[in-house]
Symmetry: C2
Subunit: 328 residues, 2 copies
């Protein structure tokens, strides 16, 4: 299997919905394959104000990953990062539970300055991506503030307090996305989803509850996905019933959902096909959807390229299915 397979979609736009680390790996593969034809719509539900700075963790992960600046070993933040700021802040008695690297800090300071001066998050992200030579369009899901709240047995927790501060330890009862009902998807996001030439929408293997659902919580986006004629394909974040990283299966268990591919398929009722890992091959029969079984584990750059090509090929094969969906 190789990139040549995808020539049928070449030159047509593709949208990926993406959270942080896991999703960004696939977005990188897609960018390597189709470059400027890729638009990545990124979760901003994790965004928060910290130390007076506007931090956008998922956008930054995508920007650093597509810009070739990410730390592949640590899995978040920038490669070659230093930590002198946060160490000095600790010595001054400041908050250090959310560790900001010295280089990473430049992004937060520059973004905060931009937002205060009236530049939108969408505009700032686009300018930064251009500056870093990123081919794909990276779009925050919204320029309005949407805040992921984790409702736990210990009360409602802002996302970063749950995820970083408490290391996902509290038991999740449900997720809420504050202001999602009032927030608007940006015009750029809606234009990407409504582009009549759109070849595919790929839901990256991000955490469905924490990273993709905030995007889907925007009614504009839900509506656009409901009428899109391009095939919509999701990549399951599970491999052998486990997530590569993060609390996906812990949350599924806490929500009373089986940690299997069928649950992922049910979680995205609007998709035309699901990509699952070879380790979950036996689950394919339980999924009432076209399913592609492949290796979804992305360790190497070649893995990212291969899965990206699989996504586009699979989506291409579902074009007729998608048309039938929208005709009914």
């Amino acid at each position: 299997m190789s990139a040549q397979r995808t020539t049928s979609l070449r030159g047509r736009p593709v949208v990926a919905l993406c959270g942080g680390v896991g999703g960004a790996k696939l977005a990188l593969g897609l960018q390597r394959l189709i470059g400027a034809d890729l638009t990545v719509i990124v979760n901003t539900g994790d965004d928060f104000e910290h130390l007076g700075l506007h931090v956008s963790p998922d956008i930054d992960t995508v920007v650093y990953t597509l810009g070739g600046l990410s730390d592949l070993e640590r899995g978040w933040g920038r490669a070659g990062e230093s930590w002198n700021f946060i160490e000095a802040l600790g010595a001054l008695g400041g908050e250090t539970w959310f560790r900001l690297g010295d280089r990473d800090l430049a992004m937060h300071v520059d973004r905060t300055r931009a937002l205060r001066s009236g530049i939108s998050l969408t505009e700032f992200t686009a300018a930064t991506a251009r500056r870093l030579g990123i081919a794909a369009d990276i779009l925050p899901m919204s320029d309005d503030r949407v805040e992921t709240m984790v409702i736990t047995a210990e009360g409602a927790l802002p996302f970063q307090r749950y995820f970083v501060g408490l290391q996902c330890a509290p038991v999740v009862k449900r997720l809420e996305f504050s202001n999602a009902e009032r927030a608007a998807a940006s015009s750029q996001v809606l234009a990407a989803l409504r582009n009549p030439d759109l070849a595919a929408i790929i839901i990256c293997p991000s955490n469905p509850y924490l990273s993709v659902d905030p995007i889907l919580a925007l009614s504009d986006i839900r509506k656009a996905l409901g009428v899109v004629t391009a095939p919509i394909v999701a990549v399951s974040p599970l491999i052998g019933g486990q997530a590569v990283k993060g609390p996906t299966t812990k949350i599924m268990a806490e929500l009373g959902v089986a940690a299997d591919s069928a649950s992922i398929a049910r979680h995205y009722p609007f998709i035309d096909g699901l990509i699952i890992d070879e380790a979950d091959r036996t689950e394919a029969g339980k999924i009432d959807l076209p399913t592609l079984i492949t290796s979804t584990f992305m360790r190497s750059l070649a893995d990212r390229d291969r899965l990206a090509a699989d996504c586009l090929d699979f989506a291409g094969s579902l074009a007729a299915v998608a048309l039938r969906r929208t005709a009914t």
Copy 2:
């Protein structure tokens, strides 16, 4: 000459008026001599908003110097500093003309957060100094914003644009201190100056025009100095007609003032005595004030200690002179 000479003042409070680097050296000597009996009133006319952060260059120089964190070779900022933030900011297209070190940045971020939450600059500075184990009280001259404007042949320039951005190249016509007429000295500053037990006020060898005049521009402080019964002693920033560092003599020339000790004496008409360097010994006769001739060059820590002791001894010797001044 040694610290023993100053026993007559030991245990009584001393106030120093101070700008940045040169002044902070003497403040360190004073702190080493009298510790918690020292209050340093610091210029905030150089403060500015940069990258959305509140930067207080002179306060930070004094805090770092008295806290043992300053870079003695570079003359500003913190020792062992790294510059990854500013490098990354440049790569993002951000402003880099004012270089903020990674560790230094912690101060600006923490201060900006504090000020936004309603904590005063005075309170923040005190808390930081405590945290860093600094014995002296470090007081911003005011919690109100006063902005040093350099009126040049090329127009009015905010201080940092003139000082850092243009490297003091434009010809100075005069200095203005925006809002100084409305700004109030803090209650802590006034309490220090009005303390009836005050032993001495030392004007550090900072730039008279750029660093000390903003402090004197506050009418509360001018009034307090006019009635204080403690001796007021200034240390000339000139050595052999030259400043150790910075644009003092360039500005004096541009303002049509001779770069000599007599000009410094005239610049501070309210002082009881002037300390000049041995290199300017021949100028003593032209100064219509008690004058102490000593070495004012501070290269080593011992130099700082010695000059601090000289200041206190000289002030002690002028107690009767100061009393006569306030009686007339």
